[in-house]
Symmetry: C2
Subunit: 324 residues, 2 copies
């Protein structure tokens, strides 16, 4: 972004996910001044989602009687493979119909302010490094485990974005070369084995195959209503099937972490996203896999922890990125 | 290394691999002034290999009537998980018996000169970036595919070594979570599916299971004499079984590259090591897998090429590292 703007002005930050559009006004001291959100309703396709992004921004501006001219800029964190230099969402497994969408310029032109676009997990990585669980570290990996799995990479204290801005697609690392197909077109990705989607579909499959479980009662027999959140709650209540499913996903998450540990030798892996709310139920088995399978020198150097900033990580990171 | 030394003096560089110990005197302009080498005979264990490192250094020094005081320093590139800050070979799948060996200080004390130690593939990555196929790039991944598979990472033009110096163990990235056991203790590593060892053992297994092939004649019926080099030669001659085995390894190599492309979004992946001498026979199928499976934005940004420096990459990179 241009630095001609008054740095005392707030950034309007957007976090565009497969489920929710979150918007926030962020002060220069990283305080969240105001918020608004909408459901994404991604299945309705591109234009309706763009319209909801605009209406969410409009609402947030009108809530605080803020005009676009009173913004330092707009910063958008979006799920998917982002071309940061061109400001494109090139593709996004959880946003059907989004291919090479010039989201940065669409928003920038409508509001007449400097706008930037980056990957949502990269934004969260930056926020966790500057303000959250990763403060004081040099090298860290952020993994968001929710509907999908995203990642962000901090190297020598800086966000690493790669050659075209799409580095860090850690959920689309193959850990089972002959495994199930993933929404990205690859096979056996970490995302298809350890994400919220994977947990829910594993539960549906096992119950359809005849396994008896209280989970069927929890959703009143409507298996399509099974979500990772419900499986997580059932697991916390000691439900056997739910525990097995979470344990399987955590094992695969651990295998993904082994790869990250052997590749990056990071100081820290931070796990955020909806499934991270399970805490040790997810992290303890994953840590055990790292201890068993990674090079001891690398495994001994890494702390595997849950994120510190909760759902605000995306908007906070986007705002930090705008001010870089 | 300390910078008090006269930078016009040569570096004595060692490349310690599972098969060969190479030593070279490297001038400040990266010219190789003289060379010596010995077989590693790694199966004899730690002390005999250390002795052969010493005798190779002694021979190289006496060849040129060079005394240790006439060296800028000694730089050692070694296979395995290296703790660069402590100068330890912590473990090395292709050097049996090597655990937490203080190789840097053992060599440094014997010759009374500044000595440094780094991973061999990291050294080769640095050499390829400064002097070889990767000149002018910012972000590249180096993969050495020989007996084992090693890796090196260049980020923003600098070697990335991680928190304890063991980043870049790219051969020990799991790509088949339930796959065969690897020498490192993990399962389904890239190394156990796509290395020279993997190619040779795949050929042995298939012939033992009853497949007829001219390969049996090539080794005069002694299946233990099958090496990846012989399979590569047979494949170049059009041998069907050899072609199938190479194609399978190349496919797995491609899956490993998909991961590296989605994680790092690099400008270039450079493939070195013995198997890279096959050229397109190995790289063409791997590139095809990247094109099919990686995010298009990332896949479009990467060039996948063979190394430019051949067998000297390790010693050249070690010498460059000593002068950093």
């Amino acid at each position: 972004m241009h630095k001609t703007k008054n740095s005392k002005l707030p950034v309007l930050a957007i976090d565009l996910g497969g489920t929710k559009i979150a918007a926030a006004l962020i002060a220069p001291d990283n305080r969240v001044m105001d918020k608004a959100h909408s459901p994404t309703l991604a299945s309705e396709g591109l234009q309706p989602v763009i319209n909801r992004i605009f209406s969410t921004i409009d609402r947030l501006l009108s809530q605080g009687n803020t005009s676009p001219a009173q913004l330092y800029g707009i910063a958008i964190a979006a799920a998917g493979a982002i071309d940061t230099s061109k400001g494109l969402v090139t593709s996004s497994p959880n946003l059907p119909g989004w291919f090479d969408v010039p989201l940065r310029d669409m928003v920038g032109k409508r509001y007449g302010v400097n706008t930037c676009l980056l990957n949502d997990a990269s934004a969260a990585a930056l926020a966790e490094h500057r303000l959250g669980a990763g403060r004081g570290t040099s090298n860290l990996i952020y993994l968001t485990v929710s509907t999908g799995i995203g990642g962000g990479i901090i190297i020598d204290g800086e966000l690493y974005s790669g050659t075209s801005g799409c580095a860090g697609e850690l959920g689309h690392m193959t850990i089972d070369a002959n495994g199930p197909e993933c929404g990205c077109g690859n096979r056996g990705c970490l995302e298809v084995l350890a994400s919220g989607k994977a947990v829910a579909s594993d539960a549906k499959r096992r119950i359809k195959e005849g396994e008896k479980s209280q989970i069927t009662d929890i959703v009143s027999g409507d298996l399509e209503a099974i979500t990772a959140e419900k499986i997580a709650l059932a697991a916390q209540d000691g439900n056997r099937l739910a525990l097995e499913i979470i344990s399987r996903a955590a094992g695969y998450l651990g295998v993904g972490m082994v790869n990250l540990v052997n590749i990056f030798n990071p100081e820290m892996i931070i796990v955020g996203g909806g499934l991270s709310k399970m805490g040790e139920l997810l992290l303890a088995p994953a840590r055990e896999v790292v201890r068993e399978r990674a090079f001891p020198l690398c495994a001994g150097a890494v702390r595997i922890v849950t994120a510190g900033l909760g759902d605000d990580a995306g908007v906070l990171g986007a705002a930090l990125y705008a001010r870089l």
